[in-house]
Symmetry: C2
Amino acid sequence: MTLDKFFNAKNIAIIGVSRNPNKIGHIILRNFIDSGYNGNIFIVNPNAGSILNKTSYKKVSNINEDIDLAVIAVPAELVFDSVKDCNKKRIKNVVIVTSGFSEIGNVKEENKLKDYMNKNKMKCIGVNCLGVFDAHTKLDTLFLPRYRLKRPKEGGISFVCQSGAVGSTILDLATSQKHGFSKFISYGNATNVDESDLIEYLSKDQLTKVICVYVEAVKDGRKFMKVCSNVSKLKPIVLVKGGISEEGNKATLSHTGSLAGNAKVYSAAFKQSGIIEVKNLQEMLDAGRTFDSVMKPKGNRIQVITNGGGYGIMATDSIIENNLKMAEVGKETKKILKKVFGKNVTISNPMDLVGDATTEMYRTAISNALSDKNNDILLVIALYQTPLLTPDIVDVIIEANNLKKKPILVVSAGGEFTEVLKENLEETGVPCFTFPHQAVSAIKYLLEYHGR
Amino acid sequence: MTLDKFFNAKNIAIIGVSRNPNKIGHIILRNFIDSGYNGNIFIVNPNAGSILNKTSYKKVSNINEDIDLAVIAVPAELVFDSVKDCNKKRIKNVVIVTSGFSEIGNVKEENKLKDYMNKNKMKCIGVNCLGVFDAHTKLDTLFLPRYRLKRPKEGGISFVCQSGAVGSTILDLATSQKHGFSKFISYGNATNVDESDLIEYLSKDQLTKVICVYVEAVKDGRKFMKVCSNVSKLKPIVLVKGGISEEGNKATLSHTGSLAGNAKVYSAAFKQSGIIEVKNLQEMLDAGRTFDSVMKPKGNRIQVITNGGGYGIMATDSIIENNLKMAEVGKETKKILKKVFGKNVTISNPMDLVGDATTEMYRTAISNALSDKNNDILLVIALYQTPLLTPDIVDVIIEANNLKKKPILVVSAGGEFTEVLKENLEETGVPCFTFPHQAVSAIKYLLEYHGR
């Protein structure tokens, strides 16, 4: 059974919409209105006649039209009745954001819910979750106000996580950094749809280029490994495991109602399943948008081009530390560049165009590096503090990237001026990083996935 | 001989000011005017009558007033004559930004300069450097335009680095993140003032609370160790070593004209000298502003307070991974908090106030944690995406921090809304981080320095 309806339902019922604008159901309705979602919204509230110009129904079964998806935001004690009413109305897909189930020890109630849904072939995202956001269709059940949590632009990253807080912060951060998303799912207690189901679904989603996952406990290890082994052959799965320490592990029990298990066992299983396990959320974001943006490298030789000697050196250190390979500049390229640059630039790797590098020098260095058969990946460090580097350096990099010859990653550290130029690059799909070690770790995971 | 004049000279001569606004000398003059520096500026240019409303002198020795400090920005071949003329005028402090000396193999010319200055008891910052910026006096020789490179506010971080690019990017980044600086020195080739001299000087600077250093090659290892052994007893030295790999090491030769040496030997020497060696610039900034802001912890037990379960778990993982200690909540505190919070909050560590945590709940949790004798450091994770966390959470944290009872570090990940609240905290000296692993690494270095 596909999970398609969770992302492109035509008629959606929001059950539990309050008049109070601070209540979850109300925020969900408001977000559906603000998002420009291209579908029909019906609201359910036994008391209110009309909220935000929408007529409310006492029960979902009172609605005449067919409903594809219900979003349930009623208090925990009313969830079961709502689900039953959904079933009566033949709604087979529900997002239940309500908390108060197994995560606070209320296992019995959750099991009752689960059994009922399984028996009636219903699929549920939740309980105890933020739900779903689709950057392409704009379907958005996240009950967090848009001024607090911005929604990202369209792109190829999909993110699956138990934790609503991890999901929402990453979404918010990624938006401000101009990364593009396909689908976001915070699945909470995974009552009857778990991370494996979601990952399998995303593997078939044409718009998803990389699947990022934050997970504390895997519900069904065997299923997870089987699914990921297959999916990781199709697209990269980048994963952060929470609860790798014994102490952190204990803390997961009160978080999602399940123990996170032995870290080493998990890591081994991840590796065996072709999953790229990263150290933290920063690495996940860095690797995620790299997989989303760059092409498959033909080999593992990295050429560094820089206008800051120190940054070139730190990049080199990081490359060597991660057992990656510095490219050697080809003879032909050396000859050409020596002629153009003269004695001020050492034609090697890192190639230091020095502090008075111009945009034109970058153009020459990059285009020759792209033609050079002796490297496979370009790490371009462009520090925008110097006046000779004009803002059209961005165009130079974008044009080079558009040739689709080799993966290009960019490092630029700085303040406002730098951030604007970085955003311009990110907008067109060039992954940018603040520090060399970040770009290098992204390259490491890229090469790991492609077996280079 | 003190280096005081480099930071608070009264009469400064800028030698080599061009009419061309893109030339280095011109930019330096422009920056002195824009910075609001409280001193007199004299400019030297053999050709121009007046630049930016300042009369120019043909030679520095033609100026009538006494000059404390000269900033030399003439082409390399004219530097020696300028220095001689400075000496004639009894100027003993010069910043030479000009490049084209040992870093491109021109060792002979640099040695000639060095010998002359040593003989005449002159002190020189440079050659081949950005020079000096003092956030308190506003003295500013950095020849990078202010719209590209913002200058930071006053604070306690001083930063010493060979590399101009590393220095300027960090300054720019730190400014946008509202960190406060005392003194910044990019010393380039260290012709006759090296990192050791600068570190020793900064150890006596009352406004410097932490000395950050980026170094590729140490000029005089024995001197460096001796100086740092003494200084590190007075204030923390946080250091990044560039060129730790053999390949990176080789690249340093073309960068500053000196080989960076064996990384392991360096690391051992750093450790022996009480230096805190960090892995990269991110860690340097994170540790630097933590040392600048927080008090000395009384012990090593960390209490985590969060409104996002996943973040609490990741913080715990990171604490354990770094061999740090999770605090146990005291019996008395447990009793009080159980009464206030009821069953929805698990009173433990991490203390998860869950997604609907209010500002008032944070106030209660933080104030009780501050009174609890069973912890020494608070790691407060405040995720601002949820509507119940009102912006006055910032006031709650600032008030708690102002009590000066324990170090408080804050983690908040997100976009614009989050960044604004983080900046408010940073402005008042509460160090903020995006991800738990960053805060935990800063705590690790804090505890390492204080021997906890």
